[in-house]
Protein backbone atom coordinates (compact mmCIF):
# COMPACT_ATOMS: atom_id res chain seq x y z
CA UNK A 1 0.00 0.00 0.00
CA UNK A 2 1.40 3.35 -0.96
CA UNK A 3 0.95 6.49 1.05
CA UNK A 4 1.71 10.10 0.23
CA UNK A 5 0.98 13.54 1.55
CA UNK A 6 -1.48 15.56 -0.46
CA UNK A 7 -2.00 19.27 -0.38
CA UNK A 8 -5.58 20.32 0.17
CA UNK A 9 -7.34 23.66 0.15
CA UNK A 10 -10.67 23.40 1.91
CA UNK A 11 -13.13 26.27 2.15
CA UNK A 12 -14.01 26.99 5.75
CA UNK A 13 -16.35 29.62 6.93
CA UNK A 14 -20.00 30.52 7.32
CA UNK A 15 -22.42 33.30 6.42
CA UNK A 16 -20.08 35.83 7.96
CA UNK A 17 -17.32 34.96 5.51
CA UNK A 18 -14.54 32.48 5.14
CA UNK A 19 -11.79 31.31 2.87
CA UNK A 20 -9.66 28.47 1.61
CA UNK A 21 -7.55 26.86 4.31
CA UNK A 22 -4.44 24.84 3.52
CA UNK A 23 -3.95 21.33 4.85
CA UNK A 24 -1.28 18.70 4.30
CA UNK A 25 -2.82 15.31 4.81
CA UNK A 26 -1.97 11.66 4.36
CA UNK A 27 -3.52 9.75 1.47
CA UNK A 28 -3.60 5.96 1.09
CA UNK A 29 -4.33 3.67 -1.82
CA UNK A 30 -7.89 3.50 -2.99
CA UNK A 31 -9.16 6.49 -1.01
CA UNK A 32 -11.71 9.03 -2.11
CA UNK A 33 -11.87 12.75 -1.30
CA UNK A 34 -14.42 12.13 1.45
CA UNK A 35 -11.91 9.87 3.24
CA UNK A 36 -9.46 12.73 3.26
CA UNK A 37 -12.06 15.14 4.59
CA UNK A 38 -12.82 12.62 7.35
CA UNK A 39 -9.12 12.32 8.11
CA UNK A 40 -8.96 16.09 8.46
CA UNK A 41 -11.93 15.93 10.81
CA UNK A 42 -10.38 13.25 12.96
CA UNK A 43 -6.91 14.75 13.14
CA UNK A 44 -6.71 18.44 12.25
CA UNK A 45 -10.13 20.06 12.21
CA UNK A 46 -12.61 18.29 14.47
CA UNK A 47 -15.37 20.74 13.72
CA UNK A 48 -15.00 20.70 9.93
CA UNK A 49 -18.61 20.50 8.75
CA UNK A 50 -19.49 18.15 5.92
CA UNK A 51 -22.61 16.22 5.03
CA UNK A 52 -22.31 12.55 4.21
CA UNK A 53 -24.16 9.30 4.74
CA UNK A 54 -23.75 6.19 2.68
CA UNK A 55 -20.26 6.63 1.27
CA UNK A 56 -21.23 4.62 -1.77
CA UNK A 57 -22.82 7.17 -4.08
CA UNK A 58 -26.35 6.14 -3.18
CA UNK A 59 -27.71 8.83 -0.90
CA UNK A 60 -26.46 12.02 -2.53
CA UNK A 61 -25.47 13.80 0.68
CA UNK A 62 -21.81 14.68 0.15
CA UNK A 63 -22.21 17.01 -2.79
CA UNK A 64 -19.52 19.68 -3.05
CA UNK A 65 -17.10 21.08 -5.61
CA UNK A 66 -13.65 19.61 -6.15
CA UNK A 67 -11.27 21.72 -8.21
CA UNK A 68 -14.25 23.76 -9.29
CA UNK A 69 -16.38 20.84 -10.51
CA UNK A 70 -19.57 19.76 -8.79
CA UNK A 71 -19.03 16.22 -7.49
CA UNK A 72 -19.94 13.70 -4.84
CA UNK A 73 -17.00 13.60 -2.42
CA UNK A 74 -17.47 9.87 -1.86
CA UNK A 75 -17.24 9.06 -5.54
CA UNK A 76 -14.23 11.23 -6.32
CA UNK A 77 -11.21 9.00 -6.13
CA UNK A 78 -7.88 10.46 -5.14
CA UNK A 79 -6.22 8.58 -7.99
CA UNK A 80 -7.93 11.11 -10.27
CA UNK A 81 -5.38 13.69 -9.17
CA UNK A 82 -1.61 13.88 -9.42
CA UNK A 83 0.24 13.43 -6.12
CA UNK A 84 1.60 16.97 -6.24
CA UNK A 85 -1.64 18.53 -7.43
CA UNK A 86 -3.34 20.99 -5.08
CA UNK A 87 -6.89 19.80 -4.47
CA UNK A 88 -9.44 22.49 -3.75
CA UNK A 89 -12.67 21.51 -2.03
CA UNK A 90 -15.47 24.05 -1.67
CA UNK A 91 -19.15 23.86 -0.86
CA UNK A 92 -21.69 23.99 -3.68
CA UNK A 93 -21.70 27.56 -4.93
CA UNK A 94 -25.27 27.90 -6.12
CA UNK A 95 -26.79 27.64 -2.65
CA UNK A 96 -26.47 29.72 0.50
CA UNK A 97 -23.69 28.65 2.81
CA UNK A 98 -24.32 27.20 6.26
CA UNK A 99 -20.84 26.26 7.34
CA UNK A 100 -17.67 24.88 5.75
CA UNK A 101 -18.79 22.36 3.13
CA UNK A 102 -22.43 22.41 4.18
CA UNK A 103 -24.91 24.49 2.20
CA UNK A 104 -28.55 25.35 2.68
CA UNK A 105 -30.32 23.23 0.06
CA UNK A 106 -33.86 24.20 1.08
CA UNK A 107 -34.37 25.71 -2.38
CA UNK A 108 -34.63 22.17 -3.69
CA UNK A 109 -37.14 21.03 -1.11
CA UNK A 110 -39.27 24.09 -1.82
CA UNK A 111 -39.23 23.30 -5.53
CA UNK A 112 -40.09 19.66 -4.84
CA UNK A 113 -43.29 20.79 -3.15
CA UNK A 114 -44.32 22.85 -6.14
CA UNK A 115 -44.48 19.86 -8.46
CA UNK A 116 -47.95 18.32 -8.28
CA UNK A 117 -47.72 14.73 -7.08
CA UNK A 118 -48.62 11.51 -8.83
CA UNK A 119 -52.35 11.29 -9.46
CA UNK A 120 -53.54 7.73 -9.01
CA UNK A 121 -55.92 6.46 -11.69
CA UNK A 122 -59.56 6.28 -10.66
CA UNK A 123 -61.11 2.84 -10.50
CA UNK A 124 -57.93 0.88 -9.89
CA UNK A 125 -57.50 -0.61 -6.44
CA UNK A 126 -54.09 -1.33 -4.96
CA UNK A 127 -52.82 -4.55 -6.51
CA UNK A 128 -54.69 -3.94 -9.76
CA UNK A 129 -52.00 -1.80 -11.38
CA UNK A 130 -50.70 -3.33 -14.59
CA UNK A 131 -47.82 -1.66 -16.36
CA UNK A 132 -45.48 -2.98 -19.02
CA UNK A 133 -41.76 -2.84 -18.39
CA UNK A 134 -41.18 -0.77 -21.53
CA UNK A 135 -43.73 1.74 -20.27
CA UNK A 136 -42.11 2.24 -16.88
CA UNK A 137 -38.50 2.15 -18.07
CA UNK A 138 -38.33 5.85 -18.99
CA UNK A 139 -39.60 7.08 -15.66
CA UNK A 140 -37.47 4.50 -13.86
CA UNK A 141 -34.36 6.11 -15.30
CA UNK A 142 -35.36 9.39 -13.68
CA UNK A 143 -36.20 7.66 -10.43
CA UNK A 144 -32.57 6.62 -10.16
CA UNK A 145 -32.03 10.22 -9.05
CA UNK A 146 -30.40 10.33 -5.62
CA UNK A 147 -31.23 14.02 -5.14
CA UNK A 148 -27.63 15.10 -4.66
CA UNK A 149 -28.65 18.41 -6.26
CA UNK A 150 -25.41 18.66 -8.23
CA UNK A 151 -27.48 19.36 -11.35
CA UNK A 152 -29.26 22.17 -9.52
CA UNK A 153 -25.88 23.45 -8.37
CA UNK A 154 -24.25 23.48 -11.77
CA UNK A 155 -27.19 24.82 -13.76
CA UNK A 156 -26.18 28.32 -14.80
CA UNK A 157 -29.82 29.45 -14.84
CA UNK A 158 -29.74 29.70 -11.05
CA UNK A 159 -26.04 29.37 -10.29
CA UNK A 160 -25.28 32.55 -12.21
CA UNK A 161 -28.62 34.27 -11.71
CA UNK A 162 -30.01 34.23 -8.20
CA UNK A 163 -33.06 36.12 -9.42
CA UNK A 164 -34.17 33.14 -11.53
CA UNK A 165 -34.60 30.89 -8.52
CA UNK A 166 -38.19 31.95 -8.05
CA UNK A 167 -39.27 31.04 -11.57
CA UNK A 168 -37.10 28.03 -12.34
CA UNK A 169 -37.55 24.57 -10.83
CA UNK A 170 -34.14 23.34 -11.98
CA UNK A 171 -33.20 20.18 -13.86
CA UNK A 172 -34.01 17.81 -11.01
CA UNK A 173 -37.60 18.92 -10.70
CA UNK A 174 -38.24 19.42 -14.40
CA UNK A 175 -37.09 15.84 -14.68
CA UNK A 176 -39.59 14.94 -11.98
CA UNK A 177 -42.35 16.48 -14.09
CA UNK A 178 -41.14 14.47 -17.09
CA UNK A 179 -41.13 11.36 -14.91
CA UNK A 180 -44.74 11.89 -13.91
CA UNK A 181 -45.84 12.84 -17.40
CA UNK A 182 -44.32 9.61 -18.72
CA UNK A 183 -45.76 7.49 -15.88
CA UNK A 184 -48.10 5.07 -17.63
CA UNK A 185 -50.85 5.39 -15.03
CA UNK A 186 -50.58 9.02 -13.92
CA UNK A 187 -54.06 10.49 -14.19
CA UNK A 188 -53.15 14.18 -13.95
CA UNK A 189 -54.67 14.90 -17.35
CA UNK A 190 -57.99 13.42 -16.29
CA UNK A 191 -57.84 15.49 -13.13
CA UNK A 192 -57.45 18.65 -15.18
CA UNK A 193 -53.72 19.14 -14.81
CA UNK A 194 -51.68 19.43 -17.98
CA UNK A 195 -48.13 18.71 -16.84
CA UNK A 196 -46.77 19.52 -20.29
CA UNK A 197 -47.84 23.14 -20.43
CA UNK A 198 -47.41 23.66 -16.72
CA UNK A 199 -43.76 22.64 -17.05
CA UNK A 200 -43.32 25.73 -19.18
CA UNK A 201 -45.88 28.03 -17.57
CA UNK A 202 -45.24 27.28 -13.90
CA UNK A 203 -41.84 25.65 -13.59
CA UNK A 204 -39.63 27.60 -15.96
CA UNK A 205 -38.83 24.97 -18.57
CA UNK A 206 -38.14 27.77 -21.04
CA UNK A 207 -35.17 28.93 -18.99
CA UNK A 208 -33.35 25.73 -19.84
CA UNK A 209 -31.07 26.29 -22.82
CA UNK A 210 -30.12 22.62 -22.94
CA UNK A 211 -26.42 23.24 -22.41
CA UNK A 212 -26.28 19.86 -20.67
CA UNK A 213 -24.24 20.65 -17.58
CA UNK A 214 -26.85 18.80 -15.52
CA UNK A 215 -26.19 15.66 -17.51
CA UNK A 216 -22.44 16.17 -17.28
CA UNK A 217 -22.38 16.25 -13.48
CA UNK A 218 -25.03 13.60 -12.78
CA UNK A 219 -23.38 10.89 -10.66
CA UNK A 220 -26.13 8.45 -11.63
CA UNK A 221 -25.44 9.08 -15.32
CA UNK A 222 -29.05 9.95 -15.97
CA UNK A 223 -29.41 11.55 -19.40
CA UNK A 224 -31.32 14.45 -17.90
CA UNK A 225 -31.20 16.68 -20.95
CA UNK A 226 -31.77 14.17 -23.74
CA UNK A 227 -34.27 11.94 -22.01
CA UNK A 228 -36.17 14.30 -19.72
CA UNK A 229 -35.79 17.99 -20.52
CA UNK A 230 -35.83 17.88 -24.32
CA UNK A 231 -38.73 15.40 -24.45
CA UNK A 232 -40.54 17.69 -22.02
CA UNK A 233 -39.85 20.68 -24.28
CA UNK A 234 -41.20 18.71 -27.22
CA UNK A 235 -44.29 17.85 -25.22
CA UNK A 236 -44.76 21.53 -24.44
CA UNK A 237 -44.40 22.23 -28.18
CA UNK A 238 -47.21 19.74 -28.80
CA UNK A 239 -49.41 21.80 -26.56
CA UNK A 240 -48.39 25.33 -27.36
CA UNK A 241 -46.50 25.78 -30.63
CA UNK A 242 -47.87 23.17 -32.95
CA UNK A 243 -50.25 25.03 -35.31
CA UNK A 244 -51.88 21.79 -36.32
CA UNK A 245 -52.74 20.94 -32.75
CA UNK A 246 -53.79 24.54 -32.18
CA UNK A 247 -56.03 24.45 -35.22
CA UNK A 248 -57.54 21.20 -34.06
CA UNK A 249 -58.32 22.72 -30.68
CA UNK A 250 -59.90 25.82 -32.25
CA UNK A 251 -62.12 23.73 -34.47
CA UNK A 252 -63.10 21.47 -31.61
CA UNK A 253 -63.97 24.46 -29.48
CA UNK A 254 -66.18 25.92 -32.18
CA UNK A 255 -68.20 22.80 -32.73
CA UNK A 256 -70.80 22.48 -29.99
Amino acid sequence: MSTYTAHFKVWRGDTEGGGLQDFDVEVNDGEVVLDIIHRLQATQAHDLAVRWNCKAGKCGSCSAEVNGRPRLLCMTRMSLFGEDEVITVTPMRAFPIVRDLVTDVSFNYAKAREVPSFVPPAGLAPGEYRMAQEDVARSQEFRKCIECFLCQDTCHVVRDHEENKAAFAGPRFLMRIAELDMHPLDAAQEAGLDRKSSAQDDHGLGYCNITKCCTEVCPEQIKITDNALIPLKERAVDRKYDPLVWLGNVIRRRTP
Binding site: Q21, N67, T103, D135, D160, G206, Y207, C213, P231, Y241
Partner: protein
Protein backbone atom coordinates in the same frame (compact mmCIF):
# COMPACT_ATOMS: atom_id res chain seq x y z
CA UNK B 1 -14.40 32.89 11.49
CA UNK B 2 -11.38 35.08 11.24
CA UNK B 3 -9.97 33.45 8.14
CA UNK B 4 -9.86 34.57 4.53
CA UNK B 5 -12.05 37.09 2.81
CA UNK B 6 -14.81 39.06 4.40
CA UNK B 7 -18.38 38.71 3.17
CA UNK B 8 -19.52 40.64 0.17
CA UNK B 9 -21.69 43.60 0.90
CA UNK B 10 -22.14 44.88 -2.63
CA UNK B 11 -25.66 43.87 -3.59
CA UNK B 12 -24.83 44.13 -7.27
CA UNK B 13 -22.60 41.11 -7.10
CA UNK B 14 -24.16 38.35 -9.06
CA UNK B 15 -24.23 34.61 -9.44
CA UNK B 16 -21.71 32.70 -7.39
CA UNK B 17 -20.72 35.98 -5.75
CA UNK B 18 -24.23 36.58 -4.42
CA UNK B 19 -24.27 37.50 -0.76
CA UNK B 20 -25.14 34.47 1.34
CA UNK B 21 -23.26 31.96 -0.76
CA UNK B 22 -19.80 30.76 0.28
CA UNK B 23 -17.45 33.72 0.09
CA UNK B 24 -15.08 32.77 -2.71
CA UNK B 25 -13.71 35.56 -4.86
CA UNK B 26 -12.85 33.45 -7.89
CA UNK B 27 -15.65 33.19 -10.42
CA UNK B 28 -14.70 29.56 -10.89
CA UNK B 29 -12.08 27.19 -9.56
CA UNK B 30 -11.74 24.77 -12.42
CA UNK B 31 -8.16 23.72 -13.01
CA UNK B 32 -8.67 21.72 -16.19
CA UNK B 33 -8.66 23.24 -19.68
CA UNK B 34 -12.39 23.89 -19.65
CA UNK B 35 -12.04 26.54 -22.38
CA UNK B 36 -10.90 24.07 -25.01
CA UNK B 37 -14.30 22.57 -25.96
CA UNK B 38 -16.12 25.91 -26.40
CA UNK B 39 -13.14 27.29 -28.31
CA UNK B 40 -13.03 24.32 -30.67
CA UNK B 41 -16.78 24.56 -31.13
CA UNK B 42 -16.59 28.27 -31.92
CA UNK B 43 -13.73 27.81 -34.37
CA UNK B 44 -15.42 24.87 -36.10
CA UNK B 45 -18.79 26.55 -36.45
CA UNK B 46 -17.09 29.84 -37.39
CA UNK B 47 -15.13 28.18 -40.17
CA UNK B 48 -18.28 26.63 -41.56
CA UNK B 49 -20.16 29.93 -41.45
CA UNK B 50 -17.36 31.70 -43.36
CA UNK B 51 -17.08 28.93 -45.93
CA UNK B 52 -20.80 28.52 -46.48
CA UNK B 53 -21.38 32.27 -46.73
CA UNK B 54 -18.77 32.52 -49.44
CA UNK B 55 -20.18 29.55 -51.32
CA UNK B 56 -23.79 30.54 -50.89
CA UNK B 57 -23.21 34.00 -52.34
CA UNK B 58 -20.74 32.82 -54.98
CA UNK B 59 -23.47 31.67 -57.39
CA UNK B 60 -20.93 29.78 -59.47
CA UNK B 61 -19.21 26.43 -59.84
CA UNK B 62 -22.02 24.52 -58.19
CA UNK B 63 -22.82 22.14 -61.00
CA UNK B 64 -20.69 19.83 -62.99
CA UNK B 65 -22.57 17.04 -64.64
CA UNK B 66 -23.58 14.74 -62.96
CA UNK B 67 -22.86 16.44 -59.62
CA UNK B 68 -24.75 19.27 -57.99
CA UNK B 69 -23.58 20.93 -54.82
CA UNK B 70 -25.90 20.23 -51.86
CA UNK B 71 -25.92 24.00 -51.26
CA UNK B 72 -27.72 24.58 -54.55
CA UNK B 73 -30.25 21.79 -54.63
CA UNK B 74 -33.10 22.15 -55.24
CA UNK B 75 -32.30 25.15 -57.43
CA UNK B 76 -35.31 27.41 -57.32
CA UNK B 77 -34.18 30.52 -59.24
CA UNK B 78 -34.56 31.18 -62.95
CA UNK B 79 -30.89 32.00 -62.96
CA UNK B 80 -29.82 28.42 -62.18
CA UNK B 81 -27.49 26.69 -64.57
CA UNK B 82 -28.86 23.91 -66.68
CA UNK B 83 -28.98 20.62 -64.76
CA UNK B 84 -30.30 17.70 -66.89
CA UNK B 85 -32.95 15.81 -64.87
CA UNK B 86 -31.83 17.79 -61.82
CA UNK B 87 -34.04 19.40 -59.19
CA UNK B 88 -34.23 22.69 -61.02
CA UNK B 89 -37.56 24.37 -60.55
CA UNK B 90 -37.57 28.11 -61.23
CA UNK B 91 -40.41 28.76 -58.78
CA UNK B 92 -39.10 32.19 -57.98
CA UNK B 93 -39.01 33.34 -61.58
CA UNK B 94 -36.89 36.07 -63.06
CA UNK B 95 -37.09 38.64 -60.27
CA UNK B 96 -34.72 36.72 -58.01
CA UNK B 97 -31.30 37.90 -59.06
CA UNK B 98 -29.23 36.70 -56.14
CA UNK B 99 -27.62 33.33 -55.64
CA UNK B 100 -30.27 30.58 -55.80
CA UNK B 101 -28.51 28.87 -52.88
CA UNK B 102 -29.99 31.47 -50.55
CA UNK B 103 -33.51 30.28 -51.38
CA UNK B 104 -32.96 26.74 -50.09
CA UNK B 105 -30.23 27.12 -47.53
CA UNK B 106 -32.71 28.79 -45.22
CA UNK B 107 -34.18 25.36 -44.48
CA UNK B 108 -31.08 23.39 -43.48
CA UNK B 109 -29.84 26.52 -41.75
CA UNK B 110 -33.03 26.80 -39.75
CA UNK B 111 -32.99 23.09 -38.97
CA UNK B 112 -29.49 23.27 -37.61
CA UNK B 113 -29.87 26.63 -35.92
CA UNK B 114 -32.81 25.34 -33.86
CA UNK B 115 -31.29 21.88 -33.37
CA UNK B 116 -31.00 20.88 -29.71
CA UNK B 117 -27.35 19.99 -30.15
CA UNK B 118 -26.32 23.09 -32.08
CA UNK B 119 -28.15 25.25 -29.56
CA UNK B 120 -25.96 23.84 -26.84
CA UNK B 121 -22.89 24.29 -29.03
CA UNK B 122 -23.41 27.92 -29.88
CA UNK B 123 -24.88 28.95 -26.53
CA UNK B 124 -21.67 27.66 -25.02
CA UNK B 125 -19.20 28.49 -27.80
CA UNK B 126 -20.40 31.91 -28.95
CA UNK B 127 -22.61 33.23 -26.20
CA UNK B 128 -20.74 31.78 -23.19
CA UNK B 129 -24.02 30.96 -21.56
CA UNK B 130 -22.37 29.12 -19.87
CA UNK B 131 -18.86 28.78 -21.33
CA UNK B 132 -18.42 25.51 -19.44
CA UNK B 133 -20.05 23.79 -16.46
CA UNK B 134 -19.59 25.66 -13.20
CA UNK B 135 -17.79 28.48 -15.00
CA UNK B 136 -19.63 31.74 -14.43
CA UNK B 137 -21.20 33.32 -17.47
CA UNK B 138 -20.53 36.99 -18.18
CA UNK B 139 -24.15 38.14 -18.62
CA UNK B 140 -25.97 40.23 -16.07
CA UNK B 141 -29.37 38.74 -16.77
CA UNK B 142 -30.65 35.59 -18.34
CA UNK B 143 -34.07 34.62 -19.59
CA UNK B 144 -33.12 31.60 -21.67
CA UNK B 145 -35.70 30.52 -24.17
CA UNK B 146 -38.63 32.06 -22.36
CA UNK B 147 -39.16 35.04 -24.65
CA UNK B 148 -38.63 36.41 -28.15
CA UNK B 149 -36.46 35.70 -30.04
CA UNK B 150 -35.21 32.52 -28.44
CA UNK B 151 -38.70 31.23 -27.75
CA UNK B 152 -38.76 30.62 -31.51
CA UNK B 153 -36.42 27.70 -30.92
CA UNK B 154 -39.62 25.78 -30.25
CA UNK B 155 -40.36 25.64 -33.99
CA UNK B 156 -37.53 23.16 -34.48
CA UNK B 157 -40.08 20.52 -35.34
CA UNK B 158 -41.20 22.42 -38.47
CA UNK B 159 -37.68 22.66 -39.74
CA UNK B 160 -37.47 18.93 -39.17
CA UNK B 161 -40.51 18.46 -41.40
CA UNK B 162 -38.86 20.61 -44.08
CA UNK B 163 -35.55 18.80 -43.66
CA UNK B 164 -37.10 15.58 -44.92
CA UNK B 165 -37.99 16.74 -48.47
CA UNK B 166 -34.67 18.57 -48.67
CA UNK B 167 -32.83 15.37 -47.76
CA UNK B 168 -35.07 13.55 -50.26
CA UNK B 169 -33.99 15.87 -53.06
CA UNK B 170 -30.35 15.43 -52.09
CA UNK B 171 -30.92 11.68 -52.26
CA UNK B 172 -32.32 12.14 -55.74
CA UNK B 173 -29.16 14.08 -56.59
CA UNK B 174 -27.07 11.15 -55.47
CA UNK B 175 -29.06 8.87 -57.75
CA UNK B 176 -28.36 11.25 -60.62
CA UNK B 177 -24.70 11.07 -59.71
CA UNK B 178 -24.68 7.48 -60.90
CA UNK B 179 -24.39 8.83 -64.46
CA UNK B 180 -21.34 9.87 -66.36
CA UNK B 181 -20.61 13.33 -67.73
CA UNK B 182 -22.75 12.54 -70.76
CA UNK B 183 -25.77 11.53 -68.86
CA UNK B 184 -25.37 7.77 -69.28
CA UNK B 185 -26.46 5.61 -66.35
CA UNK B 186 -24.51 3.00 -64.46
CA UNK B 187 -21.38 4.96 -63.70
CA UNK B 188 -19.83 6.30 -60.55
CA UNK B 189 -16.92 8.46 -59.60
CA UNK B 190 -15.28 9.86 -56.51
CA UNK B 191 -17.94 12.59 -56.48
CA UNK B 192 -20.67 9.94 -56.38
CA UNK B 193 -19.04 8.40 -53.34
CA UNK B 194 -18.69 11.75 -51.59
CA UNK B 195 -22.32 12.66 -52.27
CA UNK B 196 -23.39 9.23 -51.11
CA UNK B 197 -21.51 9.48 -47.83
CA UNK B 198 -22.91 12.97 -47.37
CA UNK B 199 -26.51 11.91 -47.87
CA UNK B 200 -26.15 8.97 -45.49
CA UNK B 201 -24.84 11.32 -42.83
CA UNK B 202 -27.56 13.88 -43.58
CA UNK B 203 -30.26 11.26 -43.14
CA UNK B 204 -28.63 9.91 -40.01
CA UNK B 205 -28.45 13.41 -38.57
CA UNK B 206 -32.03 14.16 -39.59
CA UNK B 207 -33.43 10.99 -38.06
CA UNK B 208 -31.37 11.37 -34.92
CA UNK B 209 -33.15 14.68 -34.27
CA UNK B 210 -34.84 15.05 -30.89
CA UNK B 211 -38.04 16.21 -32.54
CA UNK B 212 -38.02 13.13 -34.73
CA UNK B 213 -37.58 10.97 -31.64
CA UNK B 214 -40.56 12.69 -30.08
CA UNK B 215 -42.77 12.39 -33.12
CA UNK B 216 -42.09 8.73 -33.91
CA UNK B 217 -42.79 7.57 -30.38
CA UNK B 218 -41.49 9.78 -27.60
CA UNK B 219 -44.84 11.52 -27.23
CA UNK B 220 -46.62 8.28 -26.40
CA UNK B 221 -47.56 7.37 -22.86
CA UNK B 222 -47.91 3.65 -23.53
CA UNK B 223 -45.22 2.11 -25.71
CA UNK B 224 -46.74 -1.29 -25.08
CA UNK B 225 -49.81 -0.32 -27.09
CA UNK B 226 -47.73 0.82 -30.10
CA UNK B 227 -45.03 -1.82 -30.65
CA UNK B 228 -43.99 -0.55 -34.07
CA UNK B 229 -43.58 3.02 -32.94
CA UNK B 230 -41.79 1.76 -29.83
CA UNK B 231 -39.29 -0.02 -32.02
CA UNK B 232 -38.85 3.08 -34.18
CA UNK B 233 -38.39 5.16 -31.07
CA UNK B 234 -35.72 2.76 -29.83
CA UNK B 235 -33.84 2.98 -33.12
CA UNK B 236 -34.06 6.73 -33.24
CA UNK B 237 -32.95 6.76 -29.61
CA UNK B 238 -29.78 4.91 -30.53
CA UNK B 239 -29.07 7.42 -33.30
CA UNK B 240 -30.05 10.26 -31.01
CA UNK B 241 -27.37 9.27 -28.52
CA UNK B 242 -24.90 10.17 -31.31
CA UNK B 243 -26.63 13.37 -32.33
CA UNK B 244 -23.60 15.53 -31.63
CA UNK B 245 -21.30 13.28 -33.63
CA UNK B 246 -23.75 13.16 -36.53
CA UNK B 247 -24.25 16.91 -36.40
CA UNK B 248 -20.55 17.50 -36.90
CA UNK B 249 -20.02 14.67 -39.35
CA UNK B 250 -22.85 15.82 -41.60
CA UNK B 251 -21.78 19.44 -41.32
CA UNK B 252 -18.30 18.55 -42.50
CA UNK B 253 -19.56 16.17 -45.17
CA UNK B 254 -21.88 18.74 -46.67
CA UNK B 255 -19.04 21.26 -46.86
CA UNK B 256 -16.72 18.66 -48.36
CA UNK B 257 -19.36 17.66 -50.92
CA UNK B 258 -19.86 21.27 -51.94
CA UNK B 259 -16.14 21.90 -52.08
CA UNK B 260 -15.62 18.83 -54.23
CA UNK B 261 -18.24 20.01 -56.72
CA UNK B 262 -16.57 23.41 -56.67
CA UNK B 263 -13.20 21.85 -57.48
CA UNK B 264 -14.60 19.77 -60.32
CA UNK B 265 -16.82 22.54 -61.70
CA UNK B 266 -14.05 25.11 -61.62
CA UNK B 267 -11.78 22.69 -63.46
CA UNK B 268 -9.25 22.57 -60.63
CA UNK B 269 -9.71 18.84 -60.24
CA UNK B 270 -10.72 16.06 -62.59
CA UNK B 271 -13.28 13.71 -61.07
CA UNK B 272 -11.81 10.18 -61.12
CA UNK B 273 -14.38 7.66 -62.40
CA UNK B 274 -14.56 4.20 -60.82
CA UNK B 275 -16.71 2.60 -63.52
Amino acid sequence: MATGTEPHTDAARRGVLTTGRAAIAARHLRTDRWWVPPLVTALGLGAFVVYSTWRAFANSNYYSEPYVSPFYSPCLGANCVDMPLGARWPLFGEWWGLSPALLVLIFPLGFRLTCYYYRKAYYRGFWASPPACAVAEPHATYTGETRFPLILQNIHRYFFYFAIPVAGILTYDVVLAFRDTHGHWGHAGLGTLILLINIVLIWAYTFSCHSCRHIVGGRLKHFSKHPVRYRLWSWVGKLNARHMLLAWASLISVAVADFYVFLVASGAFDDPRFF
